[in-house]
Symmetry: C2
Amino acid sequence: MFPPNDHASRCTTCAIRHRSICDALNATEIVSLNRIARSRTVPAGRMILGEGQTRSVFANIVSGVVKLTKTLDDGRQHIIGLLFPSDFLGRAFRAENPYFAEAATDVELCVFPTAGFERLLAEHSELEHRLFQFTLTELDACQEWMLLLARKKAEERVASFLLMIAKRVPNMECSLAEKREQVHFVLPLSRSEVSDCLGLTIETVSRQITQLKTKGIIELVNYREILIPDLARLREAAYDLAGHASPSPLKAHKARRSVSSDD
Amino acid sequence: MFPPNDHASRCTTCAIRHRSICDALNATEIVSLNRIARSRTVPAGRMILGEGQTRSVFANIVSGVVKLTKTLDDGRQHIIGLLFPSDFLGRAFRAENPYFAEAATDVELCVFPTAGFERLLAEHSELEHRLFQFTLTELDACQEWMLLLARKKAEERVASFLLMIAKRVPNMECSLAEKREQVHFVLPLSRSEVSDCLGLTIETVSRQITQLKTKGIIELVNYREILIPDLARLREAAYDLAGHASPSPLKAHKARRSVSSDD
DNA sequence: CGAATTGTTGAATATTCTCAACAGAGGTGG
DNA sequence: CCACCTCTGTTGAGAATATTCAACAATTCG
């Protein structure tokens, strides 16, 4: 289907071709996007994008994990998002970048120059539409995470975090014999980074991991490598319905009726 | 400029005409949007949109404040966003609504039926572009708020909240003589709702408000009506650079170099 | 092997939450 | 107009949770 030239071949062998924003493009369009693209490798720990940097970088994450951080002037910081393979990095149509992007692991990027990418965006509304979809997904995740930060306890936060990682790291092993979903993966982040995701301290994260291990919900192969014998139990720990449900029927929605159901 | 028919006249007198998504439309387009629009009033406390509701409602907020909430199964809840006049309500291109929308005050909406609005969106890429921009702004605000929830102390959260309200409520009075920016406004939310915005309890919010009052940073006309004599002082309290800056030079960015500065 | 980094654990402290009592505002009916 | 009730907000005391500080253990790297 694709002519066997350099441009098309890179994309045909691309692991994230059909999950990234590129999936919105047809064969012709993908060649023109590929023409302006550059592959780039970034070692773990290196900055990719500075906070407030004037011109944005646009890139697909091909492999590895990128962390997006925000920092208060006194040094307190928070990881507002993680980007995994097939995710898109960069804020289109924004003069300034509102966060700091850094490689959490070694990262392979497919980088697009700002001007060229924004031109393609303007010419191909399908591409912009796809980017819009990605942004909506990011917003969903962000709002879900706010609930975690606002209302979940330390153990639930850590469990939720592991669950999130488990979902995005492709090492799922479904042992149907036991009807349990098992996962094992290598954490892309240090304890310090995990704590910056969860609004906790390193020590609290460490203690909660120990506790999950004690309860048998997770197993530590080594500090970074984690085995989850039964995802269902981790899910319970993440929402912790057991521990906090009963005491009192807390404030339920008092809203009377829906707009659409009357008038 | 607009022909004096019913459709156009509603828009020409519309208070949010040039701040809402409608600003992306020309005179002809706005007539076709207006043709499918319906004005609707929603009393305070009434539900507008259910969580997980299949078909979304789309609407401009004309006046009043709408709160968007998410709830954990055991009742813990969080307000993930507030919509003010000119903001847009509804998730385009999403089958299910990920939150619950409720009128915080009496609200005037300009409602668009789902199908018709999505058709307009598809036909006029300018409109989709504008909606994309709005979504990016929402994402920015959401990520900023995550930092608050993750890392700010109770007093800073309350101060940040008041600052956010002050920015969006149009009662700014700049007393140039004293070189101070004064604001006074009526809080659109109860203490309970404020606590659900900030991931705190009612009691903690109440105590922090009392403390801000004691420090002279805010003045309470009554429980809901607040006067801020000097915005600059509130800004300090919101970031609280004074209270937490000195003790130790906390973890600074250790990232080596930017991607663009080498290779 | 030794140094540096990263992670764990313990004890004391700080912050926020929970529970409980009370105060003020607003509304209703006599 | 006032007594009474309800709802919302405040305040206090004790409890729970997470943080801080400090020591130590494990891992990695040269």
